[in-house]
Amino acid sequence: MVPEQKRKHKDFVWLGKNMHKLQEKYAGKVIAVVNGHVSAGEDAIEAYKKSRKEFPDNEPVMDIVPTKECLLL
């Protein structure tokens, strides 16, 4: 795995472990994550742009932080 792939994999794992904590602060927001650093926005474009501004060389891992309502889709 090349370093950037490894980093994204780590960020995916980090998200998996920390999502319940992130819900406290970012529920309903979109987040972009690089090396465990969270850039949040009202939508994917805002979160992505914030992240690339801080980490121009890294493609962030994107996610929507769930609210605490139950999902029935």
Binding site: K17, I45, E59, L73
Partner: protein, 134 residues
């Protein structure tokens, strides 16, 4: 075989619960792979991403085929079908994805195309989802 651990999330009604999330990549219109998490939903007819993600990935929303989606509630969501390349583990696959005409609070991996390409197993005891390439 690709294994995705279920994700611990908080819920007002049930406290902590585990949800089946997949971590994958979607190729945007410029050819870049974007890393994204999506909820795996075997009850969803088609995969769907939020409008803002569709825009971020460079898609012209209305160039896709228009469809209407309904959930359990009364409302319906207009969406547009686009073909997208996805990287699931090391497997590059092309599937139809609906881009919603509104921002959603979840991106969903549904059955269309994807469940033909992979055997997808929900392993409740191990709290993981397995993707086996057909």
């Amino acid at each position: 075989m690709i294994e995705y651990q279920w994700r611990d999330e908080g819920s007002d009604s049930f406290g902590r619960l585990k949800r089946p999330i997949a971590q994958l990549h979607i190729k945007d219109k410029s050819g870049e792979w974007r890393a994204i998490s999506m909820l795996i939903d075997s009850g969803a007819d088609v995969s769907i991403i939020s409008k803002d993600f569709g825009e971020l990935f460079g898609h012209n929303l209305k160039k896709g085929r228009k469809i209407k989606l309904k959930g359990i509630g009364e409302g319906e969501v207009v969406a547009y079908i686009h073909k997208m390349d996805m990287l699931v583990g090391k497997h590059e696959v092309s599937i139809e994805v609906a881009i919603a005409s509104v921002d959603l609070k979840v991106n969903i991996l549904g059955r269309r195309n994807l469940f033909d390409l992979f055997e997808i197993q929900f392993k409740n005891k191990k709290q993981e989802t397995r993707f086996l390439k057909n």
